[in-house]
């Protein structure tokens, strides 16, 4: 396995090169520009056989992806922020048509005010469109997640589109040491694309995108519900298999020093890495702190999270996005919802943090853990939803 130095964007583009999809339709947007730019260079240099469609907007990009997937192609794209929002109209069509499109998403704040830095508002805003969503902690996970998403989305029990995300600039533009796979190994790992139905199959003509009203629309949404249930098991199987093959195992969630933890942090993406360092410090001081990293946000690993946090006294749930519902962020609301039936629940405090790229430092995380120690000993949550690190 070659060891290479790659940024998150380079790692995603490298995975795309090795996957060599039939069609990529994309439009560049900061901080995901490099994913598309590097890949288009691979196309220009003849390193991939991909038909690259240089479209004039992300709406067209996703439309072209859906068209190409309908024809029976393995399809990929990449975007961020406003670009993902411009795709919004087409995203639920891709899942309804059960198209395994793989999207490289770089998490960035939503306008306005205009901002190019990281938060999770863009990815969270499209969470209900039937797409699988995997968050990456670092460049290695970005690379691994893209490869695994091909297997997950193309699994016949799933056949849903999926996006793997990195945190804008923090991961997308940070060069790190990663282990990549050989080109031939990737080819073997992902296998050939299996065409189930194609609009280009003249012997079996099909109609896609037809009107579907009160009589059958509901039935035609149910396969997404079922596929998302199956996706949980498939993500686990693919993640375990990836570990057996290449030594890096993945699940729906990842626990770090959580087994005997009394206080915990729950987070998505790059912040998890920073939290690990603080947890190591706290453990050396004898504080039983742990981390629950949520890798899959869709499907949502409700049972797994409930189980993992069962013995924790107090937990800080970090959301890098706000729903503006007065209920805090999406991750915490999902977790609270998952815990509704529990008789004994951990004390949860929701920290909405880091909007628009606001720094989250080691000191910030130390402070949050210290507050959890207070909550655990007092048995009371001071403030259920906090906007952390915002100036007054």
């Amino acid at each position: 396995m070659p060891t290479i130095a790659k940024t998150g964007n380079e790692a995603m583009a490298e995975a795309m090169r090795q996957i060599d999809p039939d069609v990529v339709a994309a439009y560049p947007i900061t901080p995901a520009t490099e994913v598309v730019m590097i890949f288009s260079q691979f196309v220009a240099d003849g390193l991939v056989g991909t038909e690259f469609v240089a479209v004039e907007s992300e709406h067209s990009a996703m439309s072209a992806c859906v068209g190409a997937a309908s024809a029976g192609c393995r399809v990929m794209t990449g975007t961020s922020s406003q670009g993902l929002q411009l795709m919004s109209e087409i995203l639920p069509i891709a899942s309804a048509l059960r198209q395994p499109i793989v999207l490289c998403e770089v998490n960035r704040a939503l306008s306005g005010p205009i901002n190019i830095h990281c938060d999770h508002s863009d990815t969270m805003a499209v969470r209900d469109f039937g797409w699988i969503q995997l968050f990456s902690e670092n460049a290695q996970e970005a690379y691994d997640n893209i490869l695994q998403l091909v297997r997950i989305t193309e699994n016949e029990k799933v056949r849903l589109p999926g996006m793997a995300t990195t945190d804008g600039f923090i991961i997308s533009h940070c060069m790190e040491k990663i282990e990549s796979l050989d080109d031939a190994e990737v080819k073997k790992y992902i296998g050939d694309f299996k065409v189930i139905k194609s609009t280009l199959d003249l012997d079996k003509p099909i109609t896609l995108g037809s009107l579907d009203l009160q009589d059958y629309y509901f039935e035609h949404k149910m396969p997404i519900v079922e596929a998302m249930k199956e996706a949980k098991q498939v993500i686990l199987e693919v993640g375990k298999d990836f570990g057996q093959r290449y030594g890096r195992e993945y699940g729906l969630i990842e626990e770090y020093k959580l087994a005997d933890a009394e206080i915990a942090m729950v987070a998505l993406g790059s912040t998890c890495g920073t939290a690990r360092a603080v947890i190591d410090e706290l453990r050396e001081k004898g504080v039983k702190a742990g981390l629950l990293k949520v890798r899959a946000f869709r499907p949502f690993p409700a049972e797994e999270i409930v189980k993992a946090l069962a013995k924790v006294k107090a937990a800080a749930v970090l959301d890098r996005s706000d729903m503006f519902s007065n209920q805090g962020g999406q991750l915490c609301c999902e977790i609270k919802s998952a815990m509704y039936d529990l008789k004994q629940k951990p004390l949860l405090t929701n920290y909405v943090y880091g909007l628009g790229g606001r720094e989250i430092s080691l000191e910030d995380i130390r402070k949050i853990f210290a507050e959890q120690q207070g909550t655990a000993s007092s048995g009371k949550v001071k403030q259920a939803v906090q906007h952390f690190g915002v100036r007054e």
Binding site: A5, M175, E176, A277, D280
Partner: protein, 196 residues
Amino acid sequence: MSKSKVIEIRWHGRGGQGAKTAALLFADAAMSLGKYIQAFPEYGPERMGAPVQSFNRLADDPITVHCGITDPQIVLVLDPTLMATVDVAQGLPKDGKLIVNTSKTPQEIRKEINLKAAQIFTVNASGIAQEKIGRNIPNTPMLGALVKVSGLLDFNEMIKNTEDKLKKKFAHKPEIIKGNLEAIKTAHDQVKGEKR
């Protein structure tokens, strides 16, 4: 199990001077010599000539933190005119190291920026680059100075590794390879610290 110390480095330059490239090159070289690395730029307004920063982390164990660097052990200044407006020593600890691209001595720089703590090193990286590479691209020679001052990497191994990489990249331009390597070696030999 306690983990090895993470070394943090900050580069100061102006947009277009190669501060980002320097951080990437250094990280790449360090990785090739077995270190775990991070290299990342600070993203503000991207204008030619505006003050920019880039950063490195180096360690013997995997680096998990992904927050900004506020108190680096080593700071490099690619453009000495920055020191009039930017506090390049910000966050630098008492035993920190400041490496400046200038024809002046460390003592002169210390007086100029009125710095009490840290060790100052100077090297005329621009002059070396002009002479050896034919262009004022100080970031390459600064790598040589950094390796010397930090003691983080084996210099001979680093030179060999850089040579291999340049040979791949500039196979049809051998004069570029020679110039860059000589610039790194010269800066490594000429960087000077303060007499104590």
